[in-house]
């Protein structure tokens, strides 16, 4: 299974690693980081930039070592535009689109998308669940016109870390 971690999850991992209070959400986020391997957990380029260029503690490097960067592909922006039309905020639309249209290398990427987007944004999760049937239809319609592997694109699930770790 492959999961894209939202920054709301990454920041909780970091808070736990630097000695912050181990609240339930911090514990669940750390458990996720420790349960899965780096080829199962992904972060966006934006999160990578925050961890490498803005945050200066070594624990940020630990998170980078435990994850893989997910790169956008040529259809990421197009699907993000569709998601914005359906009421998702700019950043949420981009990350949900990245979960569908992305790969693990700049050239000859070996994967297409991830199984799940992991977040603590409950508003986003509820909005996604409410629109899921319509999103499925729109994505199927768009993907049908694309060449392989993009015609096999699929919607991710949207879960919190505890929903993921409790099912493993």
């Amino acid at each position: 299974m492959r999961y894209l971690l939202d920054k709301s999850v990454v920041r909780r991992c970091l808070r736990g690693l630097i000695g912050g209070t181990l609240t339930d959400d911090v514990r669940h986020s750390l458990r996720l980081l420790r349960t899965f391997t780096p080829d199962e957990l992904y972060i966006s380029l934006q999160t990578l930039h925050i961890l490498t260029h803005i945050i200066k503690v070594p624990q940020a490097r630990f998170i980078i070592a435990r994850t893989t960067v997910l790169y956008p592909v040529k259809y990421t922006k197009r699907w993000a535009r569709r998601l914005r039309e359906m009421g998702f905020k700019r950043e949420d639309a981009y990350l949900l689109s990245l979960a569908t249209f992305s790969t693990d290398q700049l050239k000859e990427g070996r994967i297409l998308g991830v199984n799940g987007f992991v977040t603590y944004d409950y508003h986003l999760q509820n909005h996604f669940l409410a629109l899921q049937p319509q999103l499925e239809i729109r994505l199927r319609r768009m993907a049908a016109r694309l060449s392989p592997p993009y015609n096999r694109a699929s919607l991710p699930t949207v879960n919190t870390p505890d929903q993921i770790t409790s099912s493993t």
């Binding site: 299974m1 492959r2 920054k7 709301s8 920041r11 808070r15 690693l17 630097i18 000695g19 912050g20 380029l45 934006q46 999160t47 930039h49 925050i50 260029h53 803005i54 945050i55 200066k56 503690v57 624990q59 790169y71 956008p72 592909v73 040529k74 990421t76 950043e91 992305s102 790969t103 290398q105 700049l106 050239k107 000859e108 990427g109 070996r110 994967i111 297409l112 998308g113 991830v114 199984n115 060449s147 392989p148 592997p149 993009y150 096999r152 694109a153 699929s154 991710p156």
Partner: protein, 98 residues
Amino acid sequence: MPTTMTIRLDAEIQEALRHKSRQLHLDAETAVVQLIRDFVKGRLLLADQEFTEKLTVAEYLALSDEQEAALWDRWYREADRRVGTIIAEASPDALPPR
């Protein structure tokens, strides 16, 4: 009941430890014991260590969840501008999620 543990340190580090402890108005043993206490509790950093250019670890940890989230939102927008447009290419036989 406290027991004794011997730690070998280079002379240079010992001198630096004494110097730093004097600066902090602590004796060296108290400083090391405090560091060990923090370490076993999972606190691996000194509170005044730089977290970002403008925040120490202690200041960051003192933020409320809302303040921390707002900071990450700002960092995300900055990162988004810096990352620019990168487009990767998936192999035709790239694996979709199972």
